[in-house]
């Protein structure tokens, strides 16, 4: 079985988000980059399938050379090899097109992704890749088993979950629950050393069509100063919520 895992290089979850002075772009100064946490669940799941089913795991990232440390980390976690499409991604569609172009000829049985990236939160790439490849798509997956040419995925729905059987090849977008947080693989020294020599292929982009442009960006406006209420005066808190905020 061949698995393709799509990873995105995103600002570390503790990052403060700032924009350039003219507000036209995200300010990358001083940012630490990590594998998108939701993609990490997908990657760990793929490595588990590699162990249990002898699958091979390829990671793909659409990004410029600056994303290579994150790709190497994915290799250290256990992927067999990697592809980087040499394009600074501009929107979900252009990213999906590149992934689909690589997947088209790769003969992958399963494409795994995080359900969204924590930077632009489009949540669109996995579904677009599935449609571009004319494959079934299961989103918000919190469980996955593979049995021959079929997968059984559990997807989260509002107020519950649904178990679905899916014919492979398919695209599955996962989140926490696909594997548990405690089962995420932290690369050890051996993994880090072997990642250095694993193949990382760089391919040039197939197209450059962009469908959505980020025109400008705003930071979240600060809230007014907090009003502190004494724990002995909860009547005042109830009054404020009722009369001032009008939320109860």
């Amino acid at each position: 079985m061949k698995i393709l895992v799509c990873i995105s290089s995103v600002p570390d979850t503790t990052s403060k988000i700032n924009f350039t002075a003219d507000k036209s772009a995200f300010d990358k100064n001083g940012i630490q980059w990590v594998i998108n946490p939701l993609d990490e669940f997908a990657l760990t799941k793929a490595v588990k399938l590699q162990e249990s089913q002898g699958a091979t795991v390829t990671v793909i990232n659409v990004g410029d050379a600056a994303t290579e440390p994150v790709i190497r980390k994915a290799l250290a976690i256990g992927a067999n090899d990697a592809v980087r499409v040499n394009l600074d991604p501009k929107d979900s569609y252009s990213t999906a097109k590149e992934i689909a172009a690589v997947a088209q000829n790769g003969g992958y049985d399963l494409i795994l992704c995080g359900k969204e990236s924590i930077d632009y939160n489009g949540g669109s790439v996995p579904g677009m890749v599935a449609q571009l490849l004319n494959q079934p798509f299961v989103n918000a997956s919190v469980g996955l088993d593979v049995n021959g040419s079929e997968a059984t995925a559990v997807r989260e729905i509002e107020g519950g979950k649904e178990t679905i059987s899916v014919k492979l090849p398919a695209v599955i977008a996962g989140q926490k629950g696909l594997v548990d947080e405690k089962d995420l693989i932290i690369p050890n020294m051996r993994g880090i050393m072997s990642a250095r020599t694993k193949p990382l292929q760089v391919v040039e982009p197939a197209s450059s069509e962009v469908k959505v442009q980020g025109v400008s960006y705003d930071s979240v406006p600060p809230r007014a100063a907090v009003k502190m209420v004494s724990p002995d005066n909860l009547d005042e808190l109830v009054r404020l919520l009722h009369e001032e905020a009008k939320v109860i």
Binding site: E156, K176, Y217, V226, P231
Partner: protein, 315 residues
């Protein structure tokens, strides 16, 4: 500029998110000088519910093959009837699975997590949530067609009654790639993303056995319950309740955080809540800086007392 909207239902019953999406579509249609056509798949609810929010046409797709959800088959069905250049979806799990596939089918731009009415229609430009709630992006669509998903609780449900008419479309879409094996839905539980009030708790609760008081406060307020990441990681509460950067992003009218210190990752998922109340015994908890109201003290005394006081005014 014909405006279409996907009115999502669960087991035939329209979701609040559907009414919000129709309300949004109506605002777009008013700006465009056009009308709203709502599309629904196998609803049992009356179309009157959609006219109430501004849909003057309702297309009810009847298709036995679409009894079970499949992103691809649903996208195919919507694609067959959505004959407009603006298609609005709610940003629910199902809709945000359908929308990207539909965008590729129609060769339209897709803008997700939309927060406000569009800034302009041609080109279509709109404010959306980005960086997990730590920033906003003004996104511009290229080309003629655009699909948007509206972030839940952002635009709001707005009554705007019109007289409407209904059309039944019988489709038979191929749905062979996926098969639903089981479907579990807890009845009577308020959906976290739709909830207008959310009561959330963190490690300060000391153990899962203490969640009864959180649930009781939520119950009295008609609220959903949530939790911080460490709490779902330890297994005190299910993953589905985790709110934050890698969990769910929510925008209720009132968010009450109990025993949560307010790490930047947690704030990212909740800071678009309209009013935030923080209850914590540590006066230095960073969350107070992002709160509207704060109480420093022992949650084990405050929560039951607060519950009683709210019960009294709800009387």
């Amino acid at each position: 500029m014909a405006v279409f909207v996907y009115a999502e239902n669960i087991n035939g019953v329209y979701k609040k998110a559907a009414f919000e999406a129709v309300s949004y579509a109506k605002a777009v249609a008013d700006k465009a000088g056009d009308t709203v056509t709502a599309i629904s798949i196998n609803p049992t609810d009356s179309s009157d519910l959609l006219y109430k929010y501004g849909a003057s046409n309702v297309i009810n797709i009847k298709d036995e093959g679409l009894k079970n959800f499949s992103a691809k088959a649903f996208a195919q069905a919507v694609s067959e009837v959505a004959d407009g250049n603006i298609i609005v979806f709610p940003h629910t799990t199902d809709a945000s699975s359908i929308a990207p596939m539909l965008a590729v089918m129609k060769n339209y731009s897709l803008i997700t997590n939309v927060l406000e009415a569009p800034e302009s229609l041609s080109p279509f430009q709109v404010k959306r949530k980005a960086f997990s709630g730590k920033g906003f992006m003004h996104a511009k669509a290229e080309g003629n067609g655009v699909i948007i998903t509206v972030s839940q609780n952002a635009f709001g449900v707005k009554e705007n009654a019109v007289s409407g008419s209904e059309e039944i479309k019988n489709l038979s879409v191929a749905n062979e790639d996926t098969k639903v094996i089981s479907h579990e839905q807890s009845s009577g539980k308020l959906d976290l993303k739709e909830a207008e009030i959310v009561v959330s708790a963190g490690r300060g609760m000391k153990g899962p056995e203490n969640w009864g008081m959180i649930e009781e406060l939520a119950n009295v307020l008609g609220a959903a319950t949530a939790c911080s990441k460490p709490v779902s990681d330890i297994g005190w509460r299910p993953h589905t309740e985790h709110v934050g950067q890698t969990g769910k992003a929510i925008s209720p009218n009132l968010y009450i955080a109990v025993g949560i210190s307010g790490a930047i990752q947690h704030l990212a998922g909740v800071n678009s809540s309209k009013t935030i109340v923080v209850i914590n015994n540590d006066a230095e908890a960073p969350f107070f800086k992002s709160a509207d109201y704060g109480v420093v003290g022992d949650a084990f005394q405050i929560i039951p007392a607060l519950t009683e006081k709210i019960k009294a005014i709800k009387g």
